[in-house]
Symmetry: C2
Subunit: 217 residues, 2 copies
């Protein structure tokens, strides 16, 4: 059973970016197939449980639902914690990071305009306050649980990187623990490689237009 995987999605962030990040963090090599026509998407349907992408082909499986896919990868790489309450803490932080993504960054260019993102900065700050406290409570190790990378760190990194993209790095100024976490995590070789070589840029109008064409909405 090889770990070489094929990731099928659009050439942008959306619901696929967290899967790319988890693949990188788990040290799993993968290729990407980008959907650019409606026909490509329709041809894929038999492999899509809910008729949705991203799709990850790995270990002979067709994985959908980005959080299920991410947990699968995290299990392979032992990033889910090995005992309670670490396991549930990692899960709660990860789920919070999904709420932050959904409440602020998902849908940019689709449901709302990125120039209006500043209206959602208070939501970012609410979560940064929580994250700062959690990191401090974890003895300021630079990680959310224990003293090495887990799915909690992976989940939070996505909205942190997006916050820096859209609001500038000063968004972290009032959150020293988050800043320490950020500097710790981006220094890891796999994460540094993700940021420099794998991560997609923010949505462009062309990207949004392509997704709408492929999904026919």
């Amino acid at each position: 059973m090889t770990s070489k995987a094929e990731f099928v999605y659009f050439d942008g962030r959306g619901r696929g970016e967290i899967v790319r990040l988890a693949l990188a963090a788990a040290g799993i090599e993968f290729t990407e197939k980008h959907l650019v026509t409606r026909e490509q998407f329709l041809a894929l349907e038999p492999d899509l449980l809910y008729n949705q992408v991203p799709l990850l082909r790995i270990d002979g499986l067709n994985l959908v639902q980005s959080s299920s896919t991410v947990r699968y990868l995290a299990r392979k790489a032992n990033l889910l914690g090995d005992k309670e309450p670490d396991i549930v803490r990692i899960d709660m932080v990860y789920e919070g990071s999904r709420d932050l993504m959904g409440g602020v960054f998902m849908g940019i260019g689709f449901q709302y305009d990125e120039t209006k993102l500043v209206d959602r900065l208070h939501i970012v700050n609410k979560y940064l306050t929580v994250f700062d406290k959690l990191l401090k409570d974890n003895h300021s190790t630079g990680y959310f649980v224990g003293n090495s990378l887990t799915l909690a760190d992976i989940g939070v990194l996505e909205p942190i990187l997006a916050s820096i993209d859209y609001f500038g790095k000063e968004v972290l100024n009032d959150y020293p623990e988050v800043l320490k976490y950020y500097n710790t995590v981006i220094s890891l070789e796999r994460i540094a490689n993700y940021i420099s070589a794998i991560r997609k840029p923010p949505n462009s109008p062309e990207y949004v237009s392509n997704v709408k064409k492929v999904l026919a909405f």
Copy 2:
């Protein structure tokens, strides 16, 4: 370490109902504390990671994020599967059930009117089609994965019960595998007990009004 738990939420379904169902399915006894005043909610804040309920006090932990809480309970009761690909299949079905809840039933009385639910029946049918196929592919055992209850079955039961509440049992008529699953699962003693003694009724205007008062929105 006792498994007696305290569940803190409103006296209604919302994001709490799946936790009640998981508690029942895991065979864990619990009491409920219902929030009826703003002051009660404010007093709870130190125990709420993201300032959100439901909260489950169990094993000395304060669990939030309903899906994290449900997975914690499912781990305790061995309902997450014991090997791949069962584990990831259970997770993907569970996540699909959350999308169905979010796309159709969450927010009734809050963001939209239950009389307009029929506009969303096509979403229910889309998922019922997927579920029917999955159940057939699992050798028509009446369960989603293997031949006993898992988190997949628990997750799907919530929107199935809600669909029957709002659309009538005939909503399952074209989905024989889902009907078999439904009859199988509701016959289990713990699930039968959940339905008869634990499950909350649909949202009333008074319930919605109370939630808005407590959360100040």
